[in-house]
Symmetry: C2
Subunit: 471 residues, 2 copies
């Protein structure tokens, strides 16, 4: 059977030990099985692989950089029939760039970092930015509608895409590679495939939006007594800086302490410890001096109020990087200390202080073994509301902590639901949040999703078991 597939397309077909790295996600949480891993050479060859799978009723698991956090890019453990993992990494061409139109046409397997670099080489910005950018692919970013630190200004992956090329579940190639800002000629198939986690078809290329490179960036770290003051600061920063505000991140002192403890070369940026900090970034099309002046004006205004107790302003690149290091190394510091339980949640921004206060209190009362490690993209209402064991936990306490995952998830998800939030802000559902999400969705919405799935993948072959149980 594999011989028939091998001769059906141009590219690599991996089995045995060669296939193994594609069957486990990068955190090692999920391992599945597959008939083989297909690495076609082009979009046309992707279509041939999918057409073969369709003809033989073989499921397809599309995979980009395999950096997802929800288990969406590897086969399920007990797949019957066994799927083909369809690796897109050989689709790695930058097909075209049009700086005047501010668009870039790239294939799905190009890494996010390569996309950023191609834009920069043309004097443009591609603003999607996230921790896995050196490995994750733009196809995976679109399939999971990735977020990151600049969503506040530029939007999620969805907002950064003008057109798609997609191989349908039947193995046909749809050319929807429009490079237009406006096009009202029919149903928005593009946004249906974006965020569908490979369950409707395979993204093989995309037209991305580019932006002018900022002339200057200024970063500040600000100490605030509580999330409420962080929110007050957000409102003021938005009013004063407008679209110049390109990042607004919140982090608790627990996060900072973990980074200082585990990441060499980091140091405390302010004299006094504060329970919470905000890291904000201003990007300006004018010069450095005006940007610094605008940020200083904001900080002066906040000092007059009593929202802000202290602040550090980075005046050069090294200082900016030192401030960002406190934010960007939180996950790594948390992992260095112990296993963790993660919650990637979104809330109406106005309700975040009340959510944190009430949910922290519930957790403290019910699960004293848990230390909250709360940080995230406050400007987007997106918290990484994570948990670690208490400091100094031995192996036994860590095991006890990890055994709390299911009830802790339940508590957090119920709280998110009560506050009209989302239990997956930017990581997608995969298998990790598939069933929990379905519990909170209106039944009518699940029914509409099932109808869409039935319409575009009637045999249910595309990435089975991910996003929603369709059968």
């Amino acid at each position: 059977m594999l011989e028939s597939l091998r001769s059906a397309f141009s590219g690599r077909l991996l089995t045995g030990a060669d296939a193994a790295p594609f069957l486990t996600d990068y955190r090692g949480k999920w391992t599945g099985q597959a008939l083989a891993v297909a690495q076609p050479d082009s979009a046309d060859e992707v279509a041939k692989v999918v057409a073969w799978c369709h003809a033989h009723r073989v499921p397809v698991v599309p995979q980009g950089g395999n950096t997802g956090l929800s288990g969406g890019s590897v086969p399920e453990a007990a797949s019957d029939p066994l799927p083909i993992v369809l690796s897109l990494t050989r689709l790695n061409q930058i097909r075209a760039i049009d700086p005047l139109n501010n668009t870039l046409l790239v294939e799905a397997g190009v890494t996010l970092l390569q996309v950023q670099e191609a834009a920069k080489a043309a004097g443009r910005l591609f603003p999607l930015s996230l921790a896995a950018e050196g490995t994750c692919t733009i196809g995976g970013n679109l399939a999971s509608n990735a977020g990151g630190v600049q969503v506040l200004r530029y939007g999620n992956a969805r907002e950064l895409c003008l057109g798609l090329e997609v191989v349908t579940a039947e193995g046909e190639l749809w050319n929807g590679l429009r490079n237009l800002r406006k096009d009202n000629t029919g149903y928005d198939l593009r946004d249906l495939y974006i965020g569908s986690e490979g369950t409707l078809g395979v993204i093989t290329a995309a037209v991305l939006k580019l932006f002018p490179l900022p002339a200057a960036q200024v970063v500040a770290l600000v100490a605030v007594p509580s999330p409420q003051q962080a929110l007050d600061l957000l409102g003021l920063a938005q009013a004063r800086l407008g679209a110049g505000l390109t990042a607004f991140e919140i982090l608790s002192d627990t996060c900072v302490a973990l980074v200082l403890q585990h990441i060499p070369g980091t140091r405390r940026p302010l004299a006094e410890v504060s329970p919470w900090y905000v890291l904000l970034e201003l990007s300006a099309s004018t010069g450095e001096a005006q940007a610094a002046e605008a940020m200083e004006g904001l900080l002066e205004a906040t000092m007059e109020s009593e929202w802000v107790t202290d602040a550090a302003l980075a005046t050069n690149l090294a200082q900016s990087e030192a401030l960002w290091a406190l934010r960007e190394n939180i996950s790594e510091a948390q992992a260095a200390e112990s296993k963790t339980i993660k919650h990637d949640i979104a809330l109406p921004i106005s309700r975040i202080p009340a959510f944190i206060a009430s949910t922290d209190a519930l957790i403290a009362a019910q699960f004293p073994q848990v230390r909250q490690v709360t940080f995230g993209h406050l400007g987007d209402g997106n918290l990484h509301y994570n948990a670690s064991p208490q400091p100094g936990s031995g192996p036994e306490q860590v095991a006890e902590f990890l055994a709390l995952e299911a009830p802790l998830n339940q508590l957090v998800h119920d709280a998110v639901h009560a506050f009209d939030g989302s239990i997956s802000a930017e990581h997608g559902l995969g298998v990790l949040r598939r069933d929990a999400s379905a519990r909170y969705k209106p039944p009518l919405e699940l029914q509409l999703m099932r109808r869409i799935k039935q319409a575009l993948d009637p045999q249910g072959l595309m990435n089975p078991g991910k996003l929603l149980k369709f059968e």
Copy 2:
């Protein structure tokens, strides 16, 4: 039969002369017939009307302010069976506003102007802005994914919506009223309903994004020799002004001359006539002085190059309004002189100068009766590539001009297609561009659209005959 509908919901049911205004579009191009016009009082009552229609196999034509330009909001002339026109104008409540979350929850029948005013009263901006804003409704804006003058900075209606409430084709009410910036928990049903022109369901309410009100705005009118220099100016303006650039409109001197001739109180803003002009607007979160300085800096830089031959900078509100009047009255001036033929097209921005040059030349050679009236949102690649009869045409020449509509459309649409553009940028397909659009779409895309339609409206009752012929 109508008695059964009358007792099935709460609201008004209009027939005869009362129904007539709902059966003709506002330009008087299309008139259809209907069983009756239903004006339900709430989303629940909309659901009852649609459920009744579904049970009785009666088609439904959803209608907002009935200001559409493509005939999407009135029944087709020869409908069998006759539909119900479902007027949403009594769903006129602003349900909630959350300035901290920058969101507004409004019902579908609220006019765009009322939405703008509600935002402003809360110290916020809702940036969607277009000529019909006093009459058009937000439900219609979303159903047709409306554009307008600030898309360059804030996006189309699609980008301004976070969540929807929709009555499905079966008359069930889906609550998708999320007020979150990030939510990756399933298929993007929201964007499927947006822009579907009422053919998949009825939008009854929406959560809209709000923005900080700009502290200052500065407007300039700039004379340029040709569209190529307008494009050069756009690149420079984007680099220097970044997201502060909130409008970038192009207009030919033909447009300006029509406005000067037909609109009282307008006057020529620059000493010399130029073949083309750009109107650009800078919105700043800083003060008036800095905004003016940034605009002056841009104009000085362009004067050094030879792109720009002259420029007028508005230094107060009256001057700004006088400059905007030259742009905003073009359609009215064109209509005051004669009947027109309109083309709402989008192109890759980088290809606009070549498109205008080659298509103008084709038209001049083949249709000397036609005077091109070209203007539009250059920053979005959206041209209103309109046509009027030559100056001084009598009734006979006007009739001759109007008889050219079909071949002129064909010429323009073929040219748009050759330049990878869209034949409907912001007006939607309705019946006006339904068949032309289908000619240029890949057959696979039409097939995917048909599958979506079949999945969500299997009986084909929602706004039949619009967007695509599905049967």
